[in-house]
């Protein structure tokens, strides 16, 4: 993650060679990690594999991108973070990834920053986060449980029972009320922007993986003597998925550049809707096998649904776009 040499001019509107290499190396690392088994363990509350993967993601510098250099981070570098989250989504990595990034954005006050950010940046701890009374993802796994209530940002004293999510890898927990008040007037807008950006990028990666898996499947599934992927009805659904994802991608990267509330909301709704539409197509084109929990496709299918409403429903994000349009 060093800056490009003077020979390389900063590319306008495009990722630079280093960012593309960063994505490829994360993709390779996560691909080799065999995430499906890790995800299934995580869903049962068996966290050893997930924690090991978390450490490797932290070593690659992913969480550090959300944390300033003063607190052992490399950031804030939202474009690189978005690049990384696309890859995390592509491999359906479990754990409170988005929440850890959003927590870093909320804890930027000098005292709490010194106390918590180095551990988040280096992967020594994971955070979860929720508005008081709302469900927090993976409250049983995160050491740092943060709740925003009327008084500010609190360190929640614990969590309630795990409630299953449609995506079994997202373990929903209510945080217990009270606890130490960390930041009386936290930058909620900033936290939300980082959460939405990371969710949008993650959803884009989920959608890209669903598309890739489905293209491979319809290329080998034979009916009527030919691969079903040679039928126009099948091709056109996949073409539409590709189009939706390709037009969500520049919104995600553009939002990471501007970090404006409007651009981030637009990216969130587009990426999540594209991923969800791709999930519907992926399920349908796989047929009955896609409808089973046993088949790994389910790990991505269910995440696409969950991310659609995480950190801003489509309605909330569209309302933000309309509010912010000059």
């Amino acid at each position: 993650m060093t800056s490009p040499g003077p020979a390389a001019p900063p590319p306008r509107f495009l990722l630079d060679a280093e960012q593309r290499a960063f994505a490829r190396s994360l993709d390779a690392m996560l691909g080799a990690a065999g995430t499906p088994a890790v995800i299934r363990d995580w869903s049962r509350g068996e966290r050893a594999g997930g924690l090991a993967l978390w450490s490797r993601i932290a070593e690659a510098g992913v969480f550090a991108l959300a944390v300033p250099e003063a607190y052992e981070g490399l950031g804030p570098r939202p474009v690189d973070l978005a690049v990384a989250f696309v890859e995390l989504g592509r491999h359906a990595v479990p754990g409170p990834l988005v929440e850890t990034v959003a927590a870093a954005a909320l804890l930027l006050e000098p005292g709490p920053a010194e106390r918590f950010l180095p551990a988040l940046a280096t992967g020594r701890s994971m955070a979860t986060l929720a508005a008081a009374g709302s469900y927090a993802v993976d409250g049983d796994a995160a050491e740092l449980r943060l709740a925003v209530d009327a008084d500010g940002l609190r360190l929640a004293p614990g969590h309630g029972p795990v409630r299953p999510s449609l995506d079994p890898a997202r373990r929903l927990t209510r945080l217990l009320p009270g606890g130490e008040l960390l930041v009386p007037d936290p930058p909620v807008d900033r936290g939300l922007r980082w959460a939405r950006l990371a969710t949008a990028a993650q959803a884009l990666g989920v959608g890209l993986a669903l598309l890739e898996r489905t293209v491979a499947y319809v290329g080998r599934r034979v009916q009527f003597g030919v691969p079903v992927g040679s039928f126009q009805a099948v091709k056109h659904r996949l073409a539409d998925a590709r189009i939706a994802l390709e037009f969500a991608r520049p919104l995600v990267l553009g939002a990471a550049v501007t970090m404006s509330a409007v651009d981030v909301a637009a990216a969130k709704v587009s990426a999540c809707e594209a991923a969800y539409a791709t999930a519907r197509t992926a399920l349908h084109l796989h047929g009955a096998i896609g409808y089973t929990a046993e088949y790994d496709l389910s790990l991505w299918l269910t995440k696409a649904r969950a991310l659609r409403t995480a950190w801003g429903t489509p309605q909330e994000c569209r309302a933000e776009v309309l509010r912010g349009h000059a």
């Binding site: 590319p11 293209v215 691969p227 992927g229 037009f247």
Partner: protein
């Protein structure tokens, strides 16, 4: 990654904005699909050209400013934000000109491009035939070798702008005995007022003669009006179709301006909650198209071939354009019940938009290209 514009780019934008503010007609011109409107739009092209704004990204020697694709995108944003007239020369400028720049001779470029830039010569396209639509390579209109040129015979149809245009370009079969249908085709330019040409205007959905049938009876075309080698027409037409044309056929500026106007209409109607999602999607889609096109242009300028990616574009903007206009007509429907009025800018834009998924390769053809060439799915029969 960077979305900022250089000070020089911003100066270019400011200059374009100032000129357009001063010169864009305060009253909209009559529809360019009428004789009167066509003449008015032609005069507007001359005014643009005189100030150097008609084809900003072309080389200077043909009437452009050689400003590059990225500044062209800025110009287009300013152009449509200013509410400037539709471009009567679009067929020639976005389809024929890139072909000439890639495959024409210098003599052809010097002869054809400057009068195209000023609107003195307006071009129509002549691709489709009664039996060759999506299956364009099935075309039958022929060009037979004559003395110093070719004689065109046959029928072309759905020829946009041909009712009032001066010249046309298209593909003709010069060798009827090739093993495959897309071989033996030649890319030709011809005069719509030449002996042997009969133009029969066709009323589009709203009755305006936006396109025409062309009946050709031994129409003479000199050799100098053949683009590239005879027999290479398909390759020439497709290479341009898939490349720069994918970027320049519809600029994001047009949709950014339309989305702004839709939002203003929604606010004017009291921000009805029922239309909120569609209005937000129009704003989001225009931004997506802007960012997508900027990135594609940057990659094109870096030497990358875009090829089949232009099919993603075409499906996106053509469906977007219809959805945006449908939302506007729905908003106009209450409280004064003028959603169906045919004389609003919105209803005219709606009729125009309806053709988008059909022309320039139907969206089904584009989805086949995405599936086969971008996703790598097996080729199959079109069923």
């Amino acid at each position: 990654m960077d979305l900022d514009r250089s000070p020089a780019d911003e100066a270019f934008r400011a200059e374009a904005r100032a000129w357009l503010r001063a010169r864009v007609p305060s009253e909209p011109l009559p529809s360019l699909e009428t004789a009167e409107g066509f003449a008015a739009h032609r005069a507007w092209e001359a005014e643009l050209a005189a100030a150097g704004w008609s084809v900003v990204n072309w080389p200077r020697r043909y009437g452009g400013q050689d400003c590059g694709l990225l500044r062209w995108l800025l110009f287009e944003e300013e152009y449509y934000a200013a509410g400037a007239p539709g471009r009567v020369g679009q067929n020639g400028v976005s389809l024929l000109a890139p072909t000439l720049l890639d495959h024409g001779t210098e003599e052809q470029r010097a002869r054809v491009l400057p009068p195209m830039a000023t609107g003195e010569v307006v071009w129509a396209q002549a691709w489709s035939e009664p039996e060759a639509g999506s299956d364009l390579a099935a075309l039958r209109a022929r060009a037979v070798r004559g003395d110093g040129g070719w004689l065109l015979s046959g029928q072309k149809t759905w020829s946009s702008r041909a009712a009032f245009a001066d010249r046309a370009f298209g593909l003709f079969r010069t060798d009827p005995d090739t093993p495959k249908p897309h071989q033996g085709l030649t890319y030709l330019m011809f005069d719509l007022r030449a002996p042997g040409v009969t133009v029969r205007p066709i009323g589009r959905l709203d009755g305006k003669p936006a396109f025409a049938e062309l009946f050709l009876d031994e129409v003479f075309v000199p050799d100098e009006d053949v683009i590239g080698e005879p027999g290479q027409g398909w390759r020439i037409a497709m290479s341009t179709a898939a490349n720069e044309r994918g970027l320049t056929l519809r600029s994001p500026g047009r949709f950014l301006a339309s989305a702004d106007r839709l939002h203003a209409l929604w606010v004017e109607r009291g921000c009805p909650e029922a239309a909120a999602a569609q209005v937000a999607d129009a704003l989001i889609g225009a931004r997506a198209y802007q960012l997508f096109t900027q990135a594609a242009a940057a990659r094109f300028l870096a030497g990358e071939r875009l090829g089949p990616e232009s099919s993603l574009n075409k499906v996106f903007w053509s469906e977007y354009d219809i959805a945006l206009h449908e939302t506007a007509l729905d908003l106009l429907g209450a409280p004064e019940a003028q959603g169906e009025a045919a004389d609003t800018d919105w209803s005219q834009g709606y009729v125009f938009a309806l053709a988008g998924p059909i022309y320039a390769g139907t969206n089904e053809i584009q989805r086949d290209i995405v599936a086969e060439q971008l996703l790598g799915l097996p080729r199959g029969r079109r069923r």
